[in-house]
Structure formats: structure tokens, C-alpha cells
């Protein structure tokens, strides 16, 4: 068994549980602070330290295994500053980031955000890319962000890196990613009715006919 302390109270829990399942094992019924239970939604951001080591650590409660003498507490997700914008009315220009999030100039490079990120992203680096107006770099470096909010919770300047990051990713996807010609072509084909007759034939086919067509269909190699 592993000794843990939940908001100061001692519990012994079996080895191999995550922080989330350990809290449930202790009898805490969780409403806030739990979503996907699989490391994707960021609902379960958690801060912990150890009985004899006050340094704060950060992680996702649904992924982190409990360790001996952990001091646990849950910090529920809370709202943060988010710029409201109409994606169609703004430009994919570097200045746009600063126009919507003027406070990012206040970053003094303490690197707390990077140390805090449970996804181990280079948060401070992408914030400096944002300052330089490099939308693509922010999009790439921040891509695996689950928007758990820990970086914003810990930033001494009150910045919200994860919202700056999604602005850049959306600008990148909308304006900077190269256009897919075959996608445009297929949409035009469908709109002009070119694909209708083939689909119509299948809609009308009886089960035997569908079975035959299905087993005879040619299969493109996977790689």
C-alpha cells in the first residue's frame, strides 16, 4: 500500500492507482476535475508535493500514478481571459496576436509555464514565438495542448498561454495551411450532382447485390 494525504488527511491506497482513481478509492466522488479519464480533456489538472518536499509538481490526475507520501489537492478548472474575435474578420499576421493579447509583452521569461505543463510542451518558447508574431511556430509547438489551464494558473504575470496558442492554431488552419485541391474538387463534384448516380445505385441495391459488390471491391494498399 502507498501512503497519501488528501487535503491533509492520511489514506493508504493500493499501488498502481492514478491520482484520480486513488481519490475515488478513498471515497471521494468527483464531479468537477474529471472528464475523459484518459489524458485528453485537461479537466483533471492537479498540483501536488510530498510530505518532506514542499516543491510543487504538476500533472494530470487521470494519468499520474500515486507515489509514497504524496500530498494531494485538486484545483478545479477556472475560466481565464479569452479574446473574442471573428475569425473571418482578422488576418493571419503576426501583429494580430499582440492586438488580441496585448499583455503577452509582460512575459519576463521565468519559464514557470514550461515547468508546469503536464504535456511537457515548450510553453515559454511558443510565447516568445507569439511575441515575434510567428503563428506557424506557435501552432506547431502548442499542438498537443489539452488546455488544462495549469500554465495560466501559475503565470506570475496572469497570461493565458493556452488561449494565445489556440488563436494561432486557428489562424494557421484557416489562413496559412496550404489549400487541398482534391478536397475542393470533390466538394464541387458533389455539389454539381456528379456523384449522385453511383450513390443512388447503391441505395437501391438489395442486400445480395451489396454483399457481392462489397466482397468484390478492390482495396487500396494501406502503405
Amino acid at each position: 500500500m502507498v501512503d497519501i494525504y488528501v487535503m491533509g488527511k492520511h489514506y493508504a491506497v493500493p499501488e498502481g492507482l492514478t491520482i484520480l482513481t486513488a481519490l475515488e478509492y478513498c471515497g471521494y466522488r468527483i464531479i468537477r476535475g474529471c472528464g475523459c479519464r484518459a489524458g485528453f480533456c485537461g479537466a483533471c489538472a492537479t498540483i501536488y508535493n510530498f510530505k518532506n518536499d514542499p516543491v510543487l509538481r504538476y500533472d494530470l490526475a487521470c494519468q499520474k500514478t500515486v507515489e509514497q507520501d504524496m500530498y494531494l489537492t485538486q484545483i478545479p478548472f477556472f475560466p481565464a481571459v479569452k479574446a473574442q474575435y471573428d475569425l473571418e474578420q482578422i488576418k493571419a499576421a503576426g501583429e494580430q496576436i499582440l492586438a488580441l493579447y496585448p499583455d503577452i509583452v509582460k512575459c519576463f521569461g521565468c519559464n514557470t509555464c514550461t515547468k508546469t505543463c503536464p504535456q511537457e510542451l515548450e510553453v515559454m518558447w511558443y510565447m516568445s514565438d507569439a511575441l515575434r508574431g510567428d503563428i506557424r511556430e506557435v501552432a506547431l509547438k502548442s499542438f498537443d495542448c489539452v488546455m488544462c489551464g495549469l500554465c495560466a494558473a501559475r503565470c506570475p504575470q496572469g497570461l493565458v498561454p493556452y488561449n494565445v496558442a489556440i488563436l494561432c492554431r486557428r489562424l494557421y488552419g484557416r489562413y496559412l495551411a496550404p489549400v487541398s485541391d482534391h478536397l475542393e474538387q470533390r466538394i464541387a463534384d458533389i455539389e454539381s450532382g456528379k456523384c449522385n448516380s453511383d450513390v443512388e445505385k447503391l441505395k437501391k441495391a438489395d442486400e445480395n447485390e451489396l454483399r457481392r459488390l462489397y466482397s468484390e471491391r478492390d482495396i487500396e494498399p494501406a502503405y
Binding site: Y28, C36, T65, F77, Y85, I166, L183, A222, Y223
Partner: protein, 553 residues
Amino acid sequence: MYPHYIEESVRKVEATREARLKETLPRLSVDAKTPLLQKFHPDYVAGTMRPLAIGPNKGDSTPNEIADLLEANSRIDPDKIDLSKPDYDVDVLVIGGGGAGASAALLAHENGANVLLATKLRLGDCNTVGAQAGTQAADRPQDSPATHYLDTVGGGHFHNIPELVEALVKDAPSVIKWLESLGVNWDKNPDGSMHELSGGGASRLRLHSARDYTGLEEMRVLRDELRNRGIGYVEFSPTVELLTDDKGQVAGAVLANMETNELTIVRARAVVMATGGMGRLHIQGFPTTNHYGATADGLVLAYRAGAKLIFMDTMQYHPTGAAYPMQILGQLVTEKVRTLGAQLVNADGAQFVMPLEPRDVVAAAIIRECRERGKGIDTPTGQVGVWLDSPMIDLIRGSGTVARELPAMVRQFGRYGIDIAKEPMLIYPTLHYQNGGIKINADGATTMLGLFAAGECEGGVHGRNRLIGNSTLDIFVFGRRAGMAAAQWSKQANPGALTLNHVRQWQKNLNESGLAQKRPISPLLLPDYAKAIPDYMPSYAKESLKPSWMKLA
């Protein structure tokens, strides 16, 4: 790093890898699939389903866990609820804050409706964020909507509803474009063409992805857009009952704040149900890939109000849930791992099924390999599994592919000391998806006036088995259609006085049939994990190998 006795089997997998790189198992014929499914797929296990005793689908079979909730008692006493002063009065109420709900809300708003979205956890805490592999759309020159159609109905064993499949495949390319215009970052080749992958049951490379965070990318963009447009939403307020009017049309909902028990009454001219799936019911004790709130609430609410369900006797077990380590037991190992080239291999290092067969077939083959042939690998929790040989990917596609294409998987297993680029992954089927659901037409309209449905809570599109990448397509296709249709209906709807008469009638029927005392209350809202066996502990795990703390007192 695996425990010592498991490492022995890893050595066997390594020993056969080179030979297996050149070995392709044939796909099974339609005739060979049927007996395999009937003998080993969980849907066919005797005694695990029963016909419903009451309601619009009386006589139709569904898993016991779902039947219990569909036949259950309401959480509310209609006589104690004042409907005369609704807290909200809107054109369209969307229930559920996943991909289907967000799309419906955006489209209803675009079509001039005053929209409220109400959800159980936070906006975006849902199954959609968990989707890793991708979204299907037939947009390459070698592909066509008709080919997508054929793959989809073949995967669904030819039971799919034709109009719904038609809508699915014909809307698909424009859905991909819509998402991109909202700022979704698709994986692309340098010339802008889509980087597409194959998937189980698909005859073309058709899967659009965003690394292995596809659903997260889709969901966070839609959530951001809802906020940009100022569309109203309330969180931690699940719907506990629908409201009808005196003409029997759906006309709103009763929401309950899970933290304070405060009730909120919403009057709406149209309602879109988008509550997702049922994995947290742990059918047959299976672990699940689903989010915390996947408890089939939407089925219960719609059914009680009088809507018909369809294909409620078929659940999807994803072939590859993590079987080790225990921290992530049952969590998804994305099909993209197989798509990229990983084979399924038994304890001796031999392949036993073509890895890109439809999901039900692969799942059944894995269960056969473990149960009948005894070629599985036992783990310390008692969970048995087979290998998914992920190191093959870099051998086939060049080193660095695993790191680039599967960052979420690398991160998840890396936490527990397993490097999936070098070591295979232990997997076993896990409860993943509800193939059936609320019956809809191509506009997302249910059999009840005023009620629409979209996403995993509806059924018919996928027949009896859904293909990879067709659900994150379904949620946008039918989310958008239902949102649009709900907005249009709201303009012509002529709602009467709000009532909870359908709940009174339901309770009366339950009492008369003697079921009221035997059944729990529903919707369930959340599973109860506090002090119970953790959700990832399957009940079929071997008793003797269970750590004592995992046995119920």
C-alpha cells in the same frame, strides 16, 4: 519495460518480426466472419441481453445494463415542479457539449435561432476529445462517396439506413472543409493535399487526422468558436427529464445542477439531443474508452418521452484497449497504430488476424485467441491480452514515424516506462461505442415532433457496426443537419403549455407493471466509482490473480 515473465513473450515477438514484415494474412470472407462473431463477439453472449418490458421499443433486445436504465424510474416528481416560470425561453436547446452538440449549436445559431447549450460536465468534456485516429471523408481522386458508402454498409453488416449513409458520405468532404475554415489543423502534405490513412474496413486511404489528437483538435476549435460567437451554455447541469407540451411535442427540459441540486427549467421550441454514448455502463463488466459522463442519458430521456430507438442490441468493443499497465487499463490504443502497420500477434509471436478487418471481427478474433486457443499473455491484474506490434511502424515507414504520428500514445505509454517505438503494446477489447441509438431521419428528426438527435446517441447510420472515422464524421454531419433543422422547426413550431405528463404516464405504467420497485432511477448521470472497484478492473479478471483490494467486501 514489462515484468520479467512477460518479457519472455516480447522476445518471441521480436524473433518473428522480420518474417512477419513480409507476411500478409488474407481478409476473412463474409461467410467466415459470421461464425467467428457468433462464437466470440460479446454481443452474442447468452443471457447478457433481454427484451425491453415497456416503452416504444417493447420487445426489442438490449444489454441488461441499458435495459435497467430504460425501464427505470424518473429522478423527479412532476407534482413538485413549477413549470409556470421557465428560467430560459429559447428557440433551440442543445443537450450535450461534445462535437455533435457544438456543431448543432453553431448551425442553429447561424440559422437565426436563439440557442442554449446545456451539458453535464464542462463544455468539451466528452467522447469527442478522446478521438485519436481521425475522420473519414472520400475526397481523394482514387476514392468516391459511393466507395465510402459501400465500405460503410459492409462494415455495418448491410443494416444501415440508406438515406443516413447517403447524407454521411455526401456531406463528408464539406465537413472537412467547414472544420478547416474554423481553423482545424489537418495533417497535410507540403502541397496542401490531405495526408490520409487507411482504417479497418475502409477500402481507400480516407482518414483525416490531426496527429493522434484529432478529436481534441476538432473539439477545442468548436468550443472556441461557440465562445467567440457568444452562444450561451451552462455546464454541470445535466438534463434529467425532457418537457413536452399539451400536444405531446417536445418543448424543453429540466436541468439539475449536480453540485447544488438546483433545478433549471428551459422552455425551447426545439430540442437537439447530443448526449453521446454509454461506455460508463461497463456492459458485461468490460472496461471502457469512454469519458466519465458516457452513461446513455440521452437514450433514457428520449425513450421516456416516447421516441423510438434502433439497433440497441449492438455495442462496439474496440479491439485494442490497453491491457497493461493497470493505470490505463481499457483506455484506447488508437486504431491508427494498426493503420500505420502494426500487426496483432499472440504469445508465441504469430499473427492470427488481418489487422485491418472491421472492428467487431478483430475484437472477436482477439477474444478467440485468448479464450479458446490460450495464446494470450496474462498480466499481474489478471487481465489477459495479445500484442500489438508497434515497433513494426518505424521499420515499415522509417524511423521517427511513431514519434511524429502518435505523440499521444508515445506520451501515455512512456509515462509507465514503455517505449512503443521499440516495445510492443499489450491490448484486449474494451467497450467503445454505441452502434445504435435514437432513430432519426436525414435531418436528424426523431419520431417525436420537436426532438432532434445527433452523434453517438442516435442510430441507424452505422447499421450494426461502425467503422473507424465514421463517428467523428457522423457528429458533424448530423450535428449540423439537426441544428439547422431544429432552427427551422423552431420558426414554425407552435408550442402549447409545458407539461411533465409523459413522466406521470411513465410512472403509472411502471407501477402497474410492477417494475417501479425493481428498477433504479435514471438517467444515471455519473458512474459510482467512489469506494467501488476502479472502472478499469474488469469483472471477468481471474479471481485468483486479483489483488485482494480489488475484491468486493
